[in-house]
Amino acid sequence: MPLDTSSYSLALLRVDGRRWNELRRINAQIRTQAAADGSSYLEMGHTKVMCVVTGPSEPFGPARVGRTGAGAGATAGASGGEAGVVVSIVVAGFSSVDRKRRGRGDKRIQELQSTISSALAASLHTHLFPHSTISISLHVLSQDGSLLAALINAATLACVDAGIPMTDYVAACTAGSTSTYAANDESADPLLDLNHQEEQELPGLTVATLGDSDRVAVLVCESRVQVSRLEGMLAVGVDGCKQVRAILDRVVRDKGRKMVQEGTVQKGVGLEDMEVD
C-alpha cells in the first residue's frame, strides 16, 4: 500500500488526516490491575499496550534465574549492588492485522526488551534496591506503529504506579520524514508520531527523553535516512516527547488526586507542596 505522498504536498495532511506535528490520541490508565505492584494501560492511536510491574523483589531462586537466562527477558543493571530490570514482552498473536505468532526468542522482541530495560535502568534509582529484581512484563494487544514508544511510555507509567523512585518520566515518541531515502527533495517535512502505514513507507526514528529536558534516553533508527533530515526529525521527536510527558504526568496526577479523594491513600506531606488542582 504505497503512501500517497503527492496528496501530502497538496493539502499538507497525512493519510489519517493529521498535520505534520500532531500526535495521535493518547489514552492512558494506571493501576489497572489489583494484584500487581504496578500496572498501566496505554493507547497511542490504535497501538494498545498493557504493562505489569512486579518488584522490586528478591529474585526467585536459581530456577527463575535460569529461566530468565533462557530467553524470557532482557536484564539490565548489575546483580550485586543494584536492582536488575527484567523486561519481557509478549506480542499477542491477534495484535496485528494478519495473525502472526512471535516466539519469545524472536530477535526483534529481544532487542525491544533490552532497549527498554537499559533505558529504564538508567532512570530508575536501582541502587536503592540491591540484590533485587524489578520485573516488567509488557503485553502488546494491538499494533499500529510506534510500538517501542508505546512500550516505553507504558513501562514508565507502571513503574510510577509501583512507586519505584525514578529521576523523571521516560517519555517516548516517533518521528519521520516525508521524503524517502532516494528522493532528494528539499521540501520534505518532518512528521510526528508515525502510524503503521507511515512506518512501513517512510524513514523514521524512535526517541525517548528524560522528562521535560532535552536529554535523550533512547534513540533508535532502523531505516535509511539522509543525514540532513535527521536533525529535523530529532527536533520534532524531542518536542513530541515533551507533549507525551505532559500527557503521562496528567494521567498520574489525575489518578493520584482521585485516590486521595476516595481515601485509598492518605494525602502525603509532599503532595501539598505540589500543584495538585
Binding site: 490491575q33 489489583a34 494484584a35 500487581a36 490504535h46 494498545k48 498493557m50 505489569v52 512486579t54 530456577a63 527463575r64 529461566r67 533462557a70 530467553g71 524470557a72 519481557s88 509478549v90 499477542a92 498473536g93 491477534f94 495484535s95 496485528s96 492485522v97 495473525r99 505468532r101 516466539g103 519469545r104 520485573s135 512484563s137 503485553h139 494487544l141 494491538s142
Partner: protein
C-alpha cells in the same frame, strides 16, 4: 502447575488441611463457601482488530485477555473418500453429503496460552492449552460451525494471555475468558453459494456470530439476544477430606487430595426444549429453576502441588525432640519406616496415590448438579453484555 510452589511450612499445611476438611462446612482462608466462585469483572469486544475478544478480572487481581482471529483455509480432502462410498453400498449421495458436513478437523482450532514468566513451550502452558482445546473439541459442535463449504473452512486462532502473574492455578480464569471471547466472536457473512470460492460480505454489521443468537428471545436483563448454544466451560474442583471445594485459591490447592478439571457443555437440544411443547424432557426441566441440560465433556486430573510438599515430622520420631540415647540411631531408622506407613493426626503428610473412583464420581456429580456451580457460572456469564 506442580512447579508452582507455595512456600508453606508443614505446620501451616496441616492447619490448612484441617480447616478445609472441617465438617459440615470447610473453613476457607478467604471466607468463601465451598461452592462459591471468586467475584469477577468481565467485558467483551475490547479489541476491534479481532473477530472476538474478552477480558476477565478476578477479584484476587488475576486478569486474562483472549483474542479470536479467524482465517479462511482450504479443507484437505480425505483421500479415502471415494473408496469408502463404494464400500458402503447402501449410502445415498444425500447421506454422503450429510456426513461430509459433520466432519470437522481438530486442527481447525489452534490455541496458545501465554503466561508471564513461563516459556511458551513450558509443560504447564502446553498442558493448559491442550486442556482448553480438548474441551472445545470434545463438544463436536464447534468445528461444524467453522465449515464454509466442501472445500473451505475457517481456521480459528485463540490466543490466551494471562496478564497478571499466575497467583492461582489459572485454568478457570482462562476457560471463562475463552468462553466469553468465543461468544462474542463474529465471522463475515458468506455471499457465495455452494462449493464456489468463498466470497464474503464486507459489511461487518452484517457479520454472523459463531455461536448464533435467537433474535426472538430477549434476555431480560440487558436486552441481549438469547444465545442458542454456548461454548464449554472448564471448572477446577478439588477434594480435601470429605469436602468438595470449587475454584480453589493457590493455598487451598497446596493441600488438595485430588484436583480435577471438569469441562461442561450445554446439551444442544436446549433449543428444541425451549421452543418445543410438551415432551418428557421439558417436564423434567420444569421443576428446576435453570432451563439447562449440562453435559460432561472431559475430565482431567491435575497433579496438585500438594504432592511435592515436605512432610512434617511427628514428635515421636523427632530426634531433636526426644532425648538422644544410645539407641537413637536404631530408633530413627525405625521411625523412618513408621513415617512411611502411618498418618499422625496434626502432622502434615503429602497425599499419596491416585484419586479414588468414588471421589472422582462425587466431584463430577457435584459439578453436574442441577442448579449447581456450573449452572451458576453459566448464568453469570450469560449476564455479560456481548456488545
Amino acid at each position: 502447575m506442580s512447579s508452582q510452589h507455595v512456600l508453606l511450612s508443614p505446620a501451616e499445611l496441616s492447619y490448612l488441611h484441617a480447616s478445609l476438611s472441617l465438617q459440615p462446612l470447610p473453613l476457607r482462608p478467604d471466607g468463601r463457601s465451598p461452592t462459591q466462585f471468586r467475584p469477577l469483572v468481565a467485558e467483551t469486544g475490547i479489541l476491534p482488530g479481532t473477530n472476538g475478544s474478552a477480558r476477565i478480572c478476578f477479584a484476587d487481581g488475576t486478569e486474562a485477555i483472549v483474542g479470536v482471529k479467524a482465517e479462511v483455509e482450504r479443507t484437505v480432502q480425505p483421500f479415502t473418500q471415494d473408496t469408502q462410498t463404494t464400500q458402503d453400498e447402501g449410502e445415498t449421495p444425500a447421506e454422503d453429503e450429510r456426513r461430509k458436513e459433520e466432519v470437522g478437523g481438530s486442527d481447525w482450532v489452534e490455541m496458545t496460552v501465554e503466561i508471564p514468566g513461563y516459556r511458551d513451550d513450558d509443560p504447564t502452558t502446553v498442558f493448559l492449552g491442550q486442556m482448553l482445546q480438548e474441551a472445545l473439541l470434545a463438544d463436536g459442535e464447534f468445528t461444524k460451525r467453522l465449515r464454509i463449504n466442501g472445500r473451505f473452512h475457517w481456521k480459528i486462532y485463540l490466543d490466551i494471555l494471562l496478564i497478571s502473574p499466575p497467583l492461582s492455578y489459572p485454568l478457570p480464569l482462562l476457560s471463562l475468558t475463552t468462553h466469553l471471547a468465543l461468544l462474542s466472536a463474529r465471522l463475515p457473512r458468506l455471499k457465495s453459494e455452494g462449493d464456489e470460492d468463498p466470497l464474503f460480505d464486507d459489511d461487518w454489521a452484517a457479520s454472523t456470530y459463531v455461536y448464533p443468537r435467537d433474535n426472538n428471545k430477549k434476555d431480560g436483563k440487558d436486552g441481549n439476544n438469547k444465545v442458542v448454544a454456548r461454548p464449554p466451560v472448564t471448572l477446577l474442583v478439588m477434594a480435601v477430606g470429605n469436602n468438595i471445594i470449587f475454584d480453589p485459591a493457590r493455598e487451598e490447592l497446596a493441600v488438595a487430595d485430588v484436583a480435577l478439571a471438569v469441562s461442561v457443555g450445554e446439551e444442544t437440544t436446549t433449543t428444541t426444549t425451549q421452543t418445543g411443547g410438551d415432551d418428557d424432557v421439558d417436564m423434567e426441566e420444569g421443576s428446576t429453576p435453570g432451563k439447562r441440560r449440562l453435559r460432561l465433556l472431559s475430565v482431567r486430573t491435575i497433579d496438585p502441588p500438594s504432592r511435592l510438599t515436605p512432610p512434617g515430622v511427628p514428635n515421636a520420631t523427632n530426634t531433636a525432640y526426644t532425648a538422644p540415647t544410645g539407641t537413637a540411631e536404631a530408633k530413627t531408622q525405625d521411625g523412618a519406616r513408621t513415617l512411611e506407613t502411618e498418618r499422625v493426626e496434626g502432622v502434615w503428610k503429602a497425599p499419596r496415590g491416585g484419586a479414588k473412583v468414588m471421589v472422582m464420581a462425587a466431584l463430577v456429580a457435584k459439578v453436574l448438579e442441577k442448579g449447581g456451580v456450573a449452572d451458576e457460572v453459566l448464568d453469570g456469564l450469560e449476564a455479560v453484555d456481548l456488545g
